[in-house]
């Protein structure tokens, strides 16, 4: 009896070791490509050109890579940060758009999410189903409708053309709503019986208890806004209004050094926000999967 127990235990331990190995391999596989980026950013243009020559010039053989540069330099950062004034304008465009969109989502999306979570009104289900459907629509399906609307509002070609539709995007409402549904309904009922106003309940109970969902929605929105491509390309004509995320693809492999330097600069805020909000993000995503 004891022997079989031991054997079972050993078998189980071997099993979880195997599982752990698979998971660590998967995680490593996911992170590996990212390790190429810092190396590329600190290489000189010449070194990169030599490594990527088969791709750039179509020569025989295959491109190579080094995780650490042979001669580390700050040349590419200099090119981007000092020698090209474009960069700052685009960087601040990105920051401005992202900030405006997030602020708008807090102002409009947050109360909507609360209304869906805390109140029972006629048509609530149908309306929420509509919100879920809108969140699934790819941007290209919205392209013509939004173009016509932005034209008639005289917003086309103006940063508002990118900001306003994003402010009313329904995905953050969905994420925040799922966060709010974690709150026990009895607390709200008790507060109402005690005579608390709806605004008070929202501020004193909803916001503190729904905070994780709100933060998760903000992190997801930030990552989305920092990465806008199709919207500004479709609705902004002037290159000086573009966000950074449209500038990077223009550099391409022809200016690989600068592209890697910009990549590092673009990645820093994204990774910082990700690291700061990671707990909320994990919890917020988990709420999306939880039933009411």
């Amino acid at each position: 009896m004891r022997e079989t127990n031991n054997r079972r235990k050993r078998k189980r331990r071997a099993g979880s070791l195997l599982a752990a190995t698979v998971c660590i391999l998967a995680a490593a596989l996911v992170c590996l490509p990212l390790l190429m980026i810092p190396g590329g950013a600190f290489m000189s243009d010449m070194e990169l050109r030599r490594l990527l020559a088969p791709i750039l010039a179509g020569q025989e053989g295959y491109a190579g890579w080094r995780l650490l540069p042979f001669y580390p330099t700050l040349d590419c950062f200099y090119n981007v940060l000092v020698a090209s004034p474009d960069f700052y304008r685009l960087f601040w465009n990105s920051v401005g758009m992202t900030a405006a969109i997030l602020a708008g989502q807090l102002l409009f999306g947050l109360p909507s999410a609360w209304a869906f979570a805390a109140f029972r009104f006629r048509g609530r289900e149908a309306l929420f189903a509509l919100y879920v459907m809108l969140m699934l629509l790819p941007f290209q399906v919205m392209l013509l409708p939004q173009y016509l609307m932005l034209r008639s509002l005289h917003l086309y070609g103006n940063p508002g053309a990118v900001i306003l539709p994003a402010v009313f995007s329904t995905f953050p409402v969905f994420v925040m709503y799922r966060g709010f549904t974690q709150i026990d309904g009895e607390i709200l009922e008790a507060a109402r019986l005690e005579g608390a106003g709806e605004w008070q309940i929202f501020r004193r109970i909803g916001l503190p208890l729904g905070e994780t969902g709100i933060r998760a929605a903000l992190v997801l929105s930030f990552l989305e806004c920092w990465n806008l491509v199709e919207q500004p390309m479709a609705f902004l004509e002037e290159q000086r209004d573009w966000p950074l995320s449209l500038y990077l693809p223009q550099l391409g492999l022809a200016r690989a050094g600068d592209a890697f330097a910009v990549s590092v600069i673009v990645l820093i805020p994204a990774v910082c926000i990700f690291a700061l909000g990671q707990d909320a993000l994990e919890a917020g995503i988990a709420y999306m999967g939880v039933k009411e």
């Binding site: 490509p33 990212l34 053989g61 190579g64 879920v132 409708p145 690989a256 995503i285 988990a286």
Partner: protein, 280 residues
């Protein structure tokens, strides 16, 4: 005046919803109604066209190619992502490395598309790193311009989204009753039986949430496809989104209007079905 004030007071709870809802109406619902109207007219002379725009879309060769490709991408991509992430979640759920592995798996969410595309280009180019590493490929496959293009797209989709879905599955697994499973184990049910008869049925509600979010993410992955392969990629990865974007550039608004209506009706039906299952 008094009566309006009274009504507002009675419905004051809806003040939480109205500002956001009016924005949604202005930027999403009203424009749709306008496009639905337009889809029955010719934009050149404003004449009623009946179903002519729809007929033009449905007989269009590019549309047929793109619709087929998009359907194939969805039919392979969504179940593949769901299966891979469920597998990882099942492995991860009782492991100590879970807290270390999860952030690593989630990290791609933070990587902007343009950065990811830069790395992808160096990896999968005909003269790229992947061909250099693989011993057998003396000729060098041009992955993005061959039949492999869809596989490359699927890999980058998996790379970006697996962590996201793993967390969703883990939350579902955490909500299962552990005792049922233990009891079954004591009664001699093996791993596979427990998975088949206890774990998977317990997750049935989660399939729809994960499915819905997988569909959302697969539509979003168009961004990377477009950035890495341009507006006219290899024909296996020419999706409906390429088509709409190209028609937009060419100002083919009649065709766009009809296709927009077709796609949104289709998505309305699909998402309503998903939603009903998700909220139950």
């Amino acid at each position: 005046m008094r009566r309006i004030g009274k009504l507002l007071w009675k419905k004051r709870r809806l003040l939480f919803l109205l500002p956001g809802l009016s924005g949604v109406a202005i930027f999403y619902l009203l424009p749709f109604a306008e496009v639905a109207r337009r889809s029955f007219f010719r934009s050149g002379n404003g004449k009623f066209a009946g179903l002519a725009n729809y007929r033009a879309v449905l007989t269009n060769g590019a549309f047929r190619l793109a619709a087929g490709n998009t359907a194939l991408y969805l039919v392979i991509g969504v179940p593949l992502l769901m299966a891979v992430s469920l597998g990882l979640a099942l492995l991860l759920r009782r492991l100590a490395v879970r807290d270390k592995a999860l952030p690593a798996l989630l990290l791609p969410m933070a990587v902007p598309a343009a950065v990811m595309v830069l790395v992808l280009q160096i990896l999968v180019d005909k003269h790229g790193l992947l061909n250099g590493w693989l011993p057998s490929s003396h000729t060098g496959i041009d992955y993005l311009n061959s039949g492999c293009a869809l596989a490359v797209v699927l890999c980058s989709f998996l790379w970006k989204n697996t962590g996201y879905m793993v967390i969703l599955w883990l939350s579902g697994l955490a909500s299962l009753n552990a005792e049922t499973e233990e009891a079954a184990a004591v009664d001699g049910a093996n791993r596979l039986q427990r998975l088949r008869y206890i774990v998977l049925p317990g997750l049935s509600g989660h399939f729809f949430t994960v499915g819905t979010l997988s569909v959302l993410q697969i539509f979003k992955s168009y961004r990377e496809v477009w950035m890495v392969a341009g507006s006219y990629p290899q024909e296996r990865i020419y999706f409906l989104q390429h088509l709409l974007q190209n028609w937009y550039r060419k100002l083919e608004f009649d065709l766009m209007a009809a296709l927009t209506v077709l796609l949104s009706v289709l998505l309305l039906v699909v998402s309503y079905f998903l939603y009903r299952r998700m909220e139950r």
